[in-house]
């Protein structure tokens, strides 16, 4: 019992009570397999407690400020005044998508729209998905994200109720991307939201997914998201996670990817805002000859804090992973990059590369960059590197000597710095939107 953490005890008690209330209202569901996982998960959360700074993985990220707010319980129905036209600004102009809208974690069918209709595809909410694809969900749900050792994943799992469920049967290629739009509406109260997404791409299927997060209102929001992604042999999946929260928002998100043989997965994680953000992205290569790309960009100012933790877990031989994370940090903001490449004993002929580059725009800006390589196989090619610097003075002068103003020159150079991460976005319309957002954010 001495393992039980007493930090942030009030919120913890409240969450445990919430869980009890949830169980009371579950009726018939309480006997099924998924609910058994929930019970395991809440027990695990009870034991682990919230992450604290003394844990190695949370050394630079302090969640304490999050817990001082009085969050509304997780299962209150989301009150929203949002209309379709209010969503315009969150959409990608000119891009036809399958739109799934979640407000405070709850699926909003009215605001959502599905354009790809096929027997071989399911794009919708978790709760809907369970009606026709319960077997798929039971097969994959919580099989990848580690709720036994990671307390926030445990918490999410315990409360997992809604989120996106995407299922592609063998060989389907979906040309219209799926856009999972998450809005935290804290206009009435401070809210705590636990989206849970599951994406299952069967053999040879192909899809692109946009998962973005926005927050509204003057109160605080705390989003604790978990996305599990399964790539069957030869499946191809591109995922773009964009976090565009306001400065009242806290975001913790875990993405757990399982890749089977010959599959391809590429992720681009973009952090524009939020008070405290923590992204965990883990991919496990469970088959040979997989290909995996991690791209990331964080642009921080004020007192923002963004922490990106990634893990490329090479369990099998002949896999390729490549990672490129870039950060632009201004004012008193703090960035954390912790990227780990794990090459296990059997993973011969691994190719794994990683790099992290940062530009600090102010003297008070901070970056903690920690690339880690753990190699237990002998026939591998791995490299990693991290750079931190300021804007290049020679380049600045060259631009200014051609009549380009200081601000504009800065924007040009920072856009250039972010260019290779931007180029990883394969959806043209989305890339344009992100470029514009970047330029807008670079204007002082």
């Amino acid at each position: 019992m001495d393992k039980i953490s007493t930090e942030n005890i009030d919120l913890k008690i409240k969450l445990l009570e919430d869980f009890n209330n949830l169980e009371v209202n579950l009726n018939g569901e309480s006997k099924n397999n998924i609910h058994k996982i929930r019970q395991d998960a809440i027990a695990s959360f009870e034991e682990l407690g919230f992450p604290v700074k003394k844990m190695e993985e949370w050394k630079y990220t302090n969640l304490k400020p999050v817990f001082k707010h009085d969050f509304k319980t997780v299962f209150e129905p989301a009150k929203t005044q949002l209309k379709r036209k209010d969503l315009e600004k969150y959409l990608v102009e000119g891009l036809k998508v399958n739109l799934l809208v979640f407000i405070n974690g709850q699926f909003n069918e009215k605001l959502s729209s599905i354009v790809t209709r096929s027997e071989k595809i399911f794009i919708g909410s978790f709760s809907e998905g369970r009606i026709s694809f319960n077997d798929v969900i039971e097969k994959h749900f919580s099989k990848y994200a580690d709720y036994k050792n990671r307390s926030l994943t445990a918490l999410n799992t315990a409360f997992a109720k809604d989120g996106a469920f995407i299922y592609l049967k063998k060989g389907v290629q979906v040309s219209e991307p799926v856009h999972i739009l998450n809005i935290a509406d804290a206009s009435a109260d401070s809210v705590m939201i636990q989206p849970r997404n599951l994406i299952v791409a069967e053999e040879g299927s192909d899809i692109k997914i946009i998962e973005d997060y926005y927050s509204l209102g003057d109160n605080h929001s705390f989003t604790n998201a978990v996305t599990e992604i399964y790539c069957a042999p030869n499946a191809r999946l591109d995922r773009y996670k964009i976090q565009n929260d306001n400065d009242k928002a806290y975001h913790v998100g875990t993405t757990q990817v399982q890749q089977e043989q010959d599959s391809y997965f590429s992720d681009t994680t973009i952090s524009w805002g939020g008070a405290i953000t923590r992204n965990d992205l883990n991919a496990v290569f469970n088959g040979t000859n997989t290909e995996c790309h991690f791209y990331g960009l964080y642009l921080l100012n004020g007192k923002q804090h963004v922490d990106n933790h990634t893990l490329a877990d090479h369990k099998m031989p002949h896999c390729y992973s490549n990672e490129l994370y870039k950060g632009i940090i201004d004012d008193k903001a703090t960035g954390v990059f912790n990227g780990k490449i794990m090459v296990r004993e059997d993973a011969q002929k691994t190719n794994a590369y990683q790099s992290n580059g940062n530009i600090l725009l102010s003297e008070d800006a901070t970056i903690y960059s920690k690339p880690q390589l753990e190699i237990f196989a002998d026939d591998v090619k791995c490299s990693h590197g991290a750079t931190t610097g300021q804007l290049n003075k020679e380049e600045m002068f060259y631009l200014r000597a051609r009549g380009i103003g200081k601000d504009e020159a800065r924007i040009l150079l920072l856009n250039a710095f972010a260019g290779d991460v931007m180029d990883s976005v394969k959806i043209d319309e989305l890339r344009e939107k992100l470029r514009e957002e970047l330029s807008k954010k670079l204007i002082k």
Binding site: A401, R402, G403, L412, A416
Partner: protein, 257 residues
């Protein structure tokens, strides 16, 4: 157009600074070409840096007037917008910024500062096509990142291409001829000659008479230890080429001080 009076400047160093320009005088009028020669380290590039406003140099006394206005109080971009252009001795590479995007931004920033309309994409492309011919630059190079992977000669040519695009009043060419092969030298020099008008002016910094066979200067100045110690017509360059700096009386005198 440009008047420099008794200019004294030092470069900021860790040891607190080093005097480089030690009382320099120069006047350049519209329509003129001035060549500045002088041994390594005499301060030619420093002069170019001070005129264009590079950080790290401190003007201690003297004046630099451009069309009658104090240049030294302007930012580098405002000097460029006023019509000053430096073809760099060592052009920098800027990964991630394409030549075209860079030039378009520069042209439009200059236009905006003058209260003019931004240039349409069509006009811009037409201009690129026309000016690229000037310095015989491959249009393919323009879609590449600024100077990245360019050979030494290509970088210099790109400087003159930018000059042609921005059409400045006063151009300073800092050793644009170094690193150019014989053909490129001719192409670049011809480009410059075509850009000469009665309204603009050029300061050509060079070590070699050869360039001045193509770009014929109205005046040749010899710079030594931070001052212009001798001025003359184009024949001075020939004289220098033949006898070297150490045969110049003024240099002998300065060196003896």
């Amino acid at each position: 157009m440009l008047e420099i009076k008794n200019l004294k400047a030092k470069v900021e160093t860790d040891e607190g600074g080093k005097d480089i320009l030690k009382g320099l005088n120069l006047e350049v009028k519209a329509g003129e070409v001035h060549a500045i020669m002088g041994p390594n380290g005499s301060g030619k590039s420093t002069l170019a840096s001070v005129i264009t406003g590079r950080e790290g140099y401190e003007v201690q006394s003297g004046e630099v007037l451009f069309e009658g206005n104090d240049l030294l109080e302007l930012s580098p971009e405002d000097r460029a917008r006023a019509g000053i252009f430096l073809a760099f001795q060592y052009p920098v590479e800027i990964p991630g910024v394409s030549n075209t995007n860079f030039l378009k931004t520069a042209i439009n920033e200059i236009r905006k500062s003058r209260g003019e309309e931004v240039m349409s994409s069509v006009d811009f492309l037409k201009m690129i096509k026309e000016k690229a011919k000037f310095v015989e630059i491959e249009p393919e190079m323009l879609s590449r990142y600024v100077n990245v992977g360019f050979s030494g000669g290509e970088k210099k040519r790109n400087e003159i291409f930018q000059l042609a695009m921005l059409n400045p009043k006063l151009s300073i060419l800092d050793e644009t001829d170094s690193g150019l092969d014989i053909d490129a030298l001719r192409i670049v020099a011809n480009g410059v000659n075509k850009l000469r008008t009665k309204d603009n002016a050029f300061i050509v910094i060079t070590h070699y008479q050869r360039l001045l066979n193509y770009i014929v200067p109205d005046y040749v100045h010899v710079m030594f230890q931070g001052k212009i110690v001798k001025s003359g017509g184009k024949e001075l360059a020939l004289h220098l080429e033949e006898f070297g700096y150490d045969k110049i009386d003024e240099i002998k005198e300065e060196a003896a001080v």
